[in-house]
Amino acid sequence: MALVEVRFFSEALGMSRTMNVILPQQQNGVGQDGAKDSGGDIPVLYLLHGGSDNHTTWQRNTSIERYALSRGLAVVMPAADNSCYTDMKHGYDYFKFFGEELPQIIREFFPNITQKREKTFVAGQSMGGYGSLKLGTLYPERFSKVGFLSSMIATERLFSKADFSSFGENIFGSQEEASGSINDSYFIMDRLIAEGKQMPEYYCICGTEDFLYQDNVDFYNHYKDKINLKYHEEPGEHEWGFWDRNIQIILDWMVQ
């Protein structure tokens, strides 16, 4: 595997940013198999981190590199700060970066990463789960599969707890502003279904002891008969051991 730490300028955010990119190699060191030759069209997973994390966290807290390599996947992990992958009301345009600019940057720097929808995937945990759901649902022509683990689904969450509410205000303004906007997970899903366009496949995973468990169950129950949505739950909390185990389920589903 190659690991690339990329420092680049983002026009959308107006500042210098960082991302880590994992690239498969056919040969690797001792104790690690290589990937088969993808013929210059490497499947790619955009892997989104959660609140308080950065572009290194998935790498450090899980074995994502080993899991990706054996499946021949490139993995793109940009830093997103605490933005909820949103064009913030008081802050920067993170959704514009992730939605419009990032794919162009990847194409510019990594010409052997695929441009094909059937080999382009997005996944994330917690805040990154919300981001994955949002990106996949607002860009269904780009992503064929969306995985979301222990996700924040309803923005109400950020406003109901006192310590998160200023966080929520800076990002969304208010719950009233978030409802019925592109930041509303239910609204955008309903809209996509109504449009009748080709949709990604979705996979929702959550731990039964996770504080977001009910939100995930509700989302699954609401959409299970309306869209291609798989679901898996097991004992577990909102923590990295759970995500290290369950990202493997998502990856197997993505590359099958």
Binding site: A2, V4, F9, E11, Q25, N28, F109, N112
Partner: protein, 265 residues
């Protein structure tokens, strides 16, 4: 510019290796020009000196700023204390840097493989390395930059330098590990002899890289640099030699890399 730090597997080295890569970007942020996007960028392979690593050029000079409006990529590999040589007791660094590294880097990034768009340069150990790799693979590079070095096996009076006292024993051991012998005269006329490599290419009548060569007048490597000047200036090679005041230091290399880039493009 975009800056990449790459860790990757090298089959020749048999381990994980590191390199820094600078790639042009159109937009840069305040106070810095960018350059337009190309499908594939010309590449400068920039080699570090003894005691350095893949980050040193970046940290001690403003290389990223100097190339930002030129639209060329820069790859800076880590080469330890290898003299850019296929070591007698050690790994095949020359093959790694000359053959495998470009193949790997081109599989990741939009880098040109055209001879006229590939250049190699370095300081000190990296200056010898540039001459050696550039002249060992003259079909791959159109230009060579050698800073504060020469044909290393013609030592001049390097060993008499007090600043290098701590390196005396180390350089003896390095010579054995790298070349198989501390007796440099036994290496004349071999693959380690840059004059021999150049002479072979000249005889073939095929294109030979242009050479940019600079050494400061207070540099302990001056005698070695002049020895190379005397040899190269007699050949049918596009060869530029300059001897400004300066010594074996990063202040000097930060200034003269800029002049090299002007000469290059």
């Amino acid at each position: 510019m975009a800056l990449m730090e790459v860790s990757f597997h090298s089959e020749i080295m048999g381990m994980s290796c590191q390199a820094m890569v600078i790639l042009p970007q159109k937009n840069q942020g305040i106070g810095m020009d960018g350059s337009s996007q190309k499908e594939k960028y010309p590449v400068l392979w920039l080699l570090h000196g003894g005691s350095d690593d893949h980050t040193t050029w970046l940290r001690r000079t403003s290389i990223e700023r100097y190339v930002s409006s030129l639209g060329i990529a820069v790859v800076m590999p880590e080469a330890h204390l290898s003299m850019y040589t296929n070591m007698t007791h050690g790994a095949r660094y020359l093959d790694y840097i000359a053959d495998e590294l470009p193949e790997i880097m081109r599989s990741f990034f939009p880098l040109s493989s055209k001879r006229e768009e590939n250049y190699i340069a370095g300081q000190s150990m990296g200056g010898y390395g540039s001459l050696k790799i550039g002249l060992s693979r003259p079909d791959q590079y159109s230009a060579i930059g050698c800073f504060s070095a020469g044909n290393l096996i013609y030592r001049g009076n390097i060993e008499e330098t007090p600043e290098l006292a701590v390196w005396q024993e180390r350089s003896r051991r390095m010579a054995i590990d790298v070349f198989g012998s501390p007796e440099y005269e036994t290496l004349f006329g071999t693959e380690h002899d840059v004059y021999h490599l150049a002479a072979q290419r000249l005889e073939s009548k095929k294109p030979i890289p242009r050479i940019y060569h600079v050494c400061g007048t207070e540099d302990f490597a001056l005698a070695q640099a002049r020895h190379a000047r005397d040899w190269f200036s007699k050949q049918e090679i596009d060869y530029l030699y300059q001897e400004p005041s300066g010594d074996h230091s990063w202040d000097f290399w930060d200034i003269w890399i800029q002049d090299f880039l002007k000469w290059l493009v």
